[in-house]
């Protein structure tokens, strides 16, 4: 391939391409679904008479964690497949998974802290679940910082793939810690709450009916749609950077 052909090819890759029909549909369905789940959680589900209105944040707090779970899970898949196939596309998915997952993890942390203020009478406590969730978010924030600090593209992709795979242990620890560490005040909604749990409530049919659509949306549509959009941007960004390097090297 001549230099001119390469530049032309890179320029084509960097240009915005029309959004695939499926992505368009996913985006619309996600937006509509998001609005519907908000209506379900904020208006349809009954008010918790003990906790008051703040309990409604549960319909975002818990699903956002599972959204982060899906996104970080895709980072693991992307990382493994990149190491196996050495295809940059998988690395883009891994990176997009971290960005989207981190945003969801932040939503989870912030909404949890705001809920805790009226229910636990504190914004934050070094409870095992809260601590592991904070470590999880910091682990993935470190992913982005480390990635930005490595110059060599191939080494960066390989290193971050391995990092992304191992970082997922923090997600698993966060998910299961309240089941194995009894000294937590974080409530469990499905199954028996730990002995010291404060602020729990029963998963009545009203709660479940508002929670399941929200959980489905945050678990599947939201991370997939956002990651897909992010991957498209990353592909263009990489092409632009290569184009710059190509022009500079000529």
């Amino acid at each position: 391939m001549t230099a001119k052909t390469k530049v032309l090819s890179l320029r084509q890759s960097a240009e915005a391409t029309p959004m695939p029909a499926l992505l368009k549909l996913l985006t619309i369905v996600t937006l509509v679904g998001f609005c519907i789940t908000l209506v379900l959680g904020l208006l349809v589900a009954g008010t918790d008479i003990q906790q008051g209105e703040i309990q409604r944040i549960f319909y975002i707090h818990m699903p956002s964690f599972f959204g982060a779970f899906t996104a970080f899970g895709l980072t693991v898949v992307g990382g493994i497949l990149y190491l196996w196939r050495k295809s940059e596309g998988w690395d883009r998915i891994a990176l997009a998974g971290v960005e989207v997952g981190l945003a969801f993890a932040l939503i989870n942390l912030v909404t949890g802290a705001i809920w805790a203020r009226p229910i636990w009478n504190t914004w934050w406590t070094w409870d095992p679940r809260l601590t592991s969730a904070a470590i999880m978010a910091l682990t993935y924030a470190a992913y982005l910082m480390l990635r930005a600090g490595i110059e060599d593209e191939a080494r960066k992709r390989s290193f971050m793939s391995v990092y992304g795979i191992f970082a997922f242990t923090s997600v698993l620890v966060t998910l299961f810690i309240i089941r194995v560490v009894p000294e937590t005040i974080h409530p469990v909604i499905v199954g028996a709450s730990p002995q010291n749990a404060q602020g729990g409530f029963e998963a009545t049919s009203g709660v479940v009916m508002a929670l399941i659509p929200s959980l489905l949306l945050w678990l599947t549509l939201m991370p997939i749609t956002l990651i897909w959009h992010r991957v498209r941007i990353e592909r263009r960004l990489e092409a632009v950077n290569r184009l710059k390097m190509q022009i500079l090297s000529e």
Partner: protein, 361 residues
Amino acid sequence: MMRSFLPLVSLKLARHSTCGEENGRNCPSDSKKITPFDGSRHSIHTSFVGATYQVARVLGRSRWITALKRTNGTVLRQYRTSLLIPILIFASVILAQGDQDTVPYIQSSAFNAPLLEGWNNQSGDDFAQFHSAEDHATIRTALVEIDEPVAAAASDLRRAFGFDLEEPIYQDKVNLADGTWNVLLYEPDAVASASVMARRAGSQTVVISFVESDPEARILMLAIAQTGDTREDAATEIDLALSLLASNNAADLVETTALSLPSGEWTRVVGDGFLAMGMVFGNDSYIAVGEGEAESLPKLADAYNRSVLGFFVTPDNSGYLALALTASFAILALLILSYFWRSRNIQKDLQLIESLNQTDS
């Protein structure tokens, strides 16, 4: 293609069998053919599914879908799952509205009081009131627009029962988890007695009262703060309560038994001409004393103390909910805006490279 799968989506949602005209399969002779419009067996579900089916058919004919169908047939096949999700969400809205659990509480605009099963519910918008004609007893919870508990209790008893009250026969204070309560006992006339607990709630007062007007019995309920020596021993607490009421004394206690009721573990004491019950809970003791024919004392003591211990105010923390929602939207908005910013920067870089190329050439 679109028309062929859309009825299938509706049918799947309704959990109907695959037997039916829509998919052209033959049904067993004894089975009923079910279409999405069959309203006879599935009222709410069927009307919803029927509506969904109609919407899906209209959507299937729309220009947008038709255009999409021409451009990419494979994409449409993938839509099935995506379309199911909003449909399921809509279904959940309908099911959630029709299937809310009943909480065993009277929820007024200001407080929650346990619902007393087996009692005649006479509650209004701003008070909870239960009456037992058989026991000549009424348990009432109300919020009174007076900030002085003793005056508020007298006012509520006057308003609800028409009592012309003088000074209480007993008055004290106890500290419970939700504040300091005034304990008041009244005997407004020869037949009736009123046991009241009242505490301030902002500029108002919560009054929980037990009123009995049984001519054959005299029943009083009170909560007393425990002393260090008497904790865990309800019989001693009953003795203390009796001495406070100055109607009996410890020498009268003849039989003590344990009694398990929904409100807790009680000690039941039978004395000479009276029946008393006591329950130790937290740092306080709850005592019920009955003179005369007071066989219903366990039922009444249980109901009143469930009202006292089960009373709570739903906190107003909608400000925190607004804050949490704002924070969530802000984080999502930042993520999505960053996509736009990055796309715009890429476009700017491309334009810059283009202009540099033109300058070079």
